[in-house]
């Protein structure tokens, strides 16, 4: 009897097809096999079909001459250069609009978000109206609105708006003097880098001193002084090795100087205004998540409202703000692909547009385009995760 009970308590090892561990492994292998098999079938079928229809494939086209011009390029580009170069130009244009857009959207979003919480009735209502209107209109419509509204309002090249004979504004864009760096300018750059290093040391020293003695140091003013002063001294020593290229009206339009095309400005305004309305709500949620007791505690130890917000509320709110903020940054980057609608030469317009049409290699080009957006998104997301970890609550 006793032996039987013992036997029942420790059952014999089940057969292998009933063992949950082996079963789990079996099904995982099965699913993995199906996924790999499916992918191989799709890739193979695509290649077969492309060959059967005589559609060109391969990445050789990247070295061929592109033959088309691009209206905005940060790096040197001309029609004689390759599709690969055009790809690079368009990727840089996409990154440029994304980075500048994220920068301004964050600033505007924080301002509007804090304004929304203001005790001033008017300010808080203006922020609320801004958020509700911009958040609820499709982005593409906003892009068309800003672009065509701007084109309608601006004058033609010959009737440009002129500011100090240096800045010119018309339908073709905004023109400003362009700095030309002469010999010796590198010394100023070196001075600036030295200044940045010095500021980092000053900040560390000030922090250490505060930890030890409790005395505060005017880090901000001293840093600004160093940042402006060192390069200025270098400039005086080298005799200002900088000249300006001024825009001038020639024929149809202004030539020379720095040019900012209206497509860039229209797209930037639309992206910033739209994304900022979401960021504002995230900021508001983050600040409201910090208990009011924190503010009262800060006041009771003698902190003023400014430092309270800066040193107590915002660092805690950031923990709530950063994760949803990351997805807004990702959205802005991906939304920049709507640029194609208003002729801003981004990746979608130049590469997945003109280059695709001229080569007809849809599979390769769309694949590369997707890879670029995926990489950008993962980079942003990786950076924001790192920042989030840095800001997260450290348990001591």
């Amino acid at each position: 009897m006793a032996a039987e009970t013992k036997h029942a308590a420790m059952p014999a090892k089940p057969p292998i097809w009933n063992d949950p561990r082996y079963r789990a492994i079996f099904f995982q292998i099965l699913v993995l096999g199906a996924v790999i098999g499916g992918s191989v079938y799709l890739v193979n079928n695509t290649i077969t079909n492309l060959e059967k229809r005589g559609i060109a494939s391969g990445f050789g086209f990247l070295e061929r001459t592109a033959g088309f011009s691009i209206s905005l390029s940060l790096i040197e580009y001309s029609e004689e250069m390759s599709y690969g170069r055009a790809f690079l130009v368009s990727v840089i244009n996409t990154i440029m609009i994304s980075v500048i857009g994220v920068f301004f959207a964050t600033i505007l979003g924080f301002i509007v978000g804090i304004a929304r919480l203001s005790s001033n009735w008017l300010i808080s209502k203006i922020a609320a109206v801004y958020i509700e209107i911009l958040r609820n209109i499709p982005l593409l419509l906003q892009i068309f609105f800003w672009y065509f509204a701007m084109l309608g309002a601006l004058p033609g090249p010959k009737q440009s708006v002129v500011v100090f004979d240096l800045f010119f504004l018309n339908k073709r864009g905004m023109y400003s003097p362009k700095p030309i760096f002469e010999d010796g300018f590198s010394l100023i750059v070196i001075a600036f880098i030295l200044a940045v290093v010095a500021v980092i040391f000053v900040a560390r020293w000030a922090r250490k001193r505060q930890d030890e003695t409790g005395e505060q140091f005017h880090t901000v003013y001293v840093s600004l002084g160093i940042l402006a002063g060192l390069p200025l001294v270098a400039a005086i020593i080298t005799g200002f090795p900088l000249s300006w290229d001024y825009p001038a009206l020639k024929g149809f339009n202004f030539k020379g100087g720095l040019e900012m095309i209206p497509e860039f400005v229209g797209l930037l305004i639309a992206l910033v205004m739209y994304t900022a309305s979401y960021i504002a709500e995230i900021v508001r949620a983050g600040i409201m998540a910090v208990s009011h007791g924190q503010t009262e505690a800060a006041y009771s130890v003698g902190l003023k409202p400014g430092p309270t917000l800066r040193l107590v509320i915002i660092p805690q709110a950031l923990r709530v703000i950063i994760p949803p903020l990351t997805s807004q940054y990702l959205n802005l980057t991906k939304n920049s692909s709507l640029a194609a609608a208003i002729a801003y030469p981004d990746l979608v317009l130049v590469f997945a547009g003109t280059a695709l049409m001229q080569t007809g290699q849809a599979v390769e080009i769309i694949g590369m385009t997707m890879a670029v957006y995926l990489t950008l998104s993962l980079l942003i997301s990786g950076f924001m995760n790192w920042y989030n970890q840095k800001m997260a609550l450290v348990e001591r």
Binding site: A56, S69, K171, F252, N253, S337
Partner: protein
Amino acid sequence: MKTTIRVLTGIAAAALISTSASAGTLADVKAKGFVQCGVSQGLPGFSNPDESGNWTGLDVDMCRAIAAAVLRDASKVKYSPLSAKERFTALQSGEVDVLSRNTTWTLVRDTALGLNFAGVNYYDGQGFMVRKDSGIKNAKELGGASVCVNIGTTTELNMADFFRANSLEYKPVVFEKADEVVAAYDSGRCDVYTTDQSGLAAQRIKLKNPNDHMILPDVISKEPLGPVVRHGDDQWFDVVKWTLYAMLEAEEYGVNSQNVASLKGSKSPVIKRLLGVEGDLGKNLGLDSEWAFRIIQQVGNYGESFERNVGPNTTLQLPRGVNNLWNKGGLMYPMPVR
């Protein structure tokens, strides 16, 4: 965005279509009972919906003629309005049976894109439109100009070639849809709008003050426009090709929609063969003997189509020029229908 989705769908379709799905476009079209025809998103005179929503135009007549020949009824056409960018993917992936959308015949499109051009239904050339008050008289004066252009067109490349060849600087402003190109040019973003001469004439009508604008006399390229089909389906290729030739042949021998019924009794062997009274040419195309008769009766000959859609009595006021028949000083030369 929609375009990107279409391109992606095309790729997905290419990936998924089994290698032995299609029995041939002709059989498919007969089975489903309509021709799916890729047209433009609205180009007056070529493919444009009229006030009551019916598609009209020279390119649309091509679709209607194919439907008349294959399905006995010119109205059995379904239209897919396509942007310049998405048109080839739509054809490659089988979304449309034939692309009749002012498309230029080039080597790359004919080969690397896996397409076949079934002929030319309009000989065009690229031109420039400028504001009259700009004082520009010819294209060589366009140095430094901002040029509005539609993406995915031969126009884009020809423009680059032209400015490069003449060592002129220019700023391309490239839009995805023709409507935005016109809107941007009209609002003054660009000094110049460039596309095919016929397109310029058609889009000029849409501008706020058409009379403030003029088309420069320079023609900087050859733009043979014609219907396109997929590579590797010779039977369907033949049907589309000979539909076009039948319309031209009819004009050459004086057969039109008015007299086609009475000409069935004609003594001319050419007309007899064309109208299916004698011989059985349709069989060779996989059609019945009255295929061409129906094209002429329901759609008309090429000349009628031209006059009705783009000719001097329409808003486009395009002269017949090189699009006249070969024996009247033009380039239109139908291969013998026999």
